[in-house]
């Protein structure tokens, strides 16, 4: 449970995600999707209840989890005046990853040519590619993705698929606004509304219409 | 002119002033507390009426709106 002052952002949400599978979280704006991701990323401390991420109880064992999760949120978490390469190298040093890994990733997402331009001058889609590189730089076991496809064209989505997609083999928690597209990506489904779990279960048990009803 | 007979030590007005400052501060505090108390009272009256309404006891003119 997570409260904001008097408001409760997340209440009684109970999910467990087996390793290697993808949970897609649906819900209208303000339903608590981003809060859930921030709690899982140890950036927010839950006020009550148990949260176990990668076998560690939060917030007490948060320090063990850090470095094993990758977060790709609405904010790219990149310094606008530094280039893609500098940003990734900075994060590589923080995570104690060799800097060649940054080069490999930039190559993989097709940012090799523009790696030395400041982030400020890149388009949203390109920033998102660099942010995805940042999120998987340290090869995290758990990926937390907040609407990862929102700024991407199909080509970019394809380029990022091996990094953050289902085929990456990582455990993933993804938020989505798109019932049909999100459902294809999911093993498990969680529907949130006003901080409460409205529906929860295997992706096979729901169709796009059932999920679309969340937004009604 | 009987006041003239009373002897005041030098600069006694400053001493009186200092102790009056202290008194004044205390009184201001009392005033603030009084304001708080009236607010609590108003709120309690409101809640009391609310409780009566819910208990099904009629005869009250209903709540008089809230803050």
């Amino acid at each position: 449970m997570r409260r904001y002052g008097e408001r409760t952002a997340l209440d009684g949400v109970s999910v467990s995600v087996p390793a290697g599978s993808s949970l897609v979280v649906f819900g209208p704006n303000g339903a608590g999707k981003s809060t859930l991701l921030r709690v899982l990323a140890t950036l927010l401390a839950p006020h009550a209840g148990t949260t176990t991420v990668l076998g560690c109880a939060l917030p007490r064992e948060g320090w063990k989890v850090r470095g094993r999760v990758g977060l790709l949120g609405h904010e790219p978490l990149l310094y606008k005046d530094l280039s893609a390469r500098e940003n990734l190298r900075y994060h590589a040093r923080l995570h104690d990853v060799r800097s060649e890994r940054a080069e490999e990733l930039l190559d993989q997402v097709g940012m090799w040519l523009r790696a030395d331009e400041p982030i400020r001058e890149l388009s949203r889609g390109m920033v998102q590619r660099v942010a995805a590189c940042r999120a998987v730089l340290h090869d995290p076991e758990l990926l937390l993705l907040d609407e990862p496809a929102s700024n991407l064209d199909p080509a970019a989505t394809a380029a990022l698929e091996p990094l953050i997609g289902r085929s990456s083999g990582r455990t993933r928690v993804v938020t989505s606004h798109d019932p049909a597209g999100g459902l294809k990506d999911a093993d498990l489904v969680l529907g949130l509304r006003a901080g409460k779990a409205e529906l929860h279960g295997s992706a096979h048990d729901f169709d796009a219409a059932a999920i679309g009803a969340l937004y009604a | 002119m009987f006041a003239a007979n009373i002897h005041f030590p030098d600069h006694s007005e400053y001493v009186a002033g200092a102790y009056l400052v202290f008194l004044g501060l205390l009184l201001i505090y009392v005033a603030i507390m009084a304001y708080k108390l009236t607010r609590f009272e108003r709120e309690l009256v409101e809640l009391n009426e609310l409780a009566d309404e819910q208990g099904g006891i009629t005869g009250h003119a209903g709540r008089t709106g809230h803050e």
């Binding site: 990323a41 904010e75 005046d81 923080l94 | -």
Partner: protein
């Protein structure tokens, strides 16, 4: 800890070199303030305690500009989250930021102090080594307290107002000791020794606030 500190410090200095903001603004502010003092005091040269006061007031006010900007990029571009996601000691952010601020202060003073000597100071400064020592000790205190106050004010809506309001009173002990200590160095008639109690008190101040900042800084980072 050392790796993370070095990484943050490198990023910080690179950002400042890429788009210089703090250092030029602080240096320009210092020199402008000297000019303002020239007209406000209606003197063309000053010495002794007046000179010492003008120098330290200017440096302290200049430092406020740097303190207010210290965490802006981290707040607005998600630098805090990016740092918090990494498996590193949070104190390293404090150490790196304080070191960066110290570097900015030193860079500013390399310009501002000679400018002060040229523009306003009557007698040539006697004991340059002692002056540098006092500057360094005071800068350390300003860097520590400045980083703490900068982080304290960054989440508030009134950031730019609160920084000088909190930092200036907190730095008054440094100002007292630095100004008292510098006075004999800027006085006519040769090298006077600096009384040991001034640098020692600043060192005590640096130590105490270093420990306080070490103890409380983590709490400013949680969301």
């Amino acid at each position: 800890m050392r790796r993370a500190t070095a990484a943050v410090l490198r990023k910080e200095l690179r950002l400042e070199l890429r788009t210089p903001q703090s250092v030029p603004a602080m240096a320009l502010f210092s020199i402008t303030t000297f000019v303002v003092f020239h007209f406000a005091l209606q003197r063309s040269d000053i010495s002794g305690d007046l000179a010492s006061g003008v120098l330290w007031v200017t440096l302290l006010l200049g430092a406020m500009l740097g303190i207010a900007r210290l965490f802006v990029a981290d707040r607005e571009e998600g630098g805090f989250d990016g740092f918090l996601l990494a498996p590193v000691d949070r104190t390293s952010l404090f150490v790196a930021k304080a070191t960066a601020l110290l570097a900015y202060l030193i860079a500013v003073q390399i310009v501002a102090v000679p400018a002060f000597v040229l523009l306003l100071l009557g007698p040539s400064p006697s004991n340059v080594g002692a002056l540098i020592g006092l500057l360094a000790l005071a800068d350390l205190g300003i860097a520590i307290v400045g980083t703490l106050v900068g982080a304290l004010a960054i989440q508030s809506r009134a950031r730019d107002l609160l920084v000088p309001l909190i930092a200036l009173p907190l730095l008054i002990p440094v100002l007292i000791c630095a100004a008292k200590g510098t006075t004999p160095l800027l006085t006519d008639g040769g090298a006077h020794a600096v009384a040991a109690r001034w640098p020692l008190t600043i060192a005590l101040y640096d130590l105490v606030f270093g420990l306080v900042a070490y103890a409380v800084f983590d709490y400013l980072l949680e969301d």
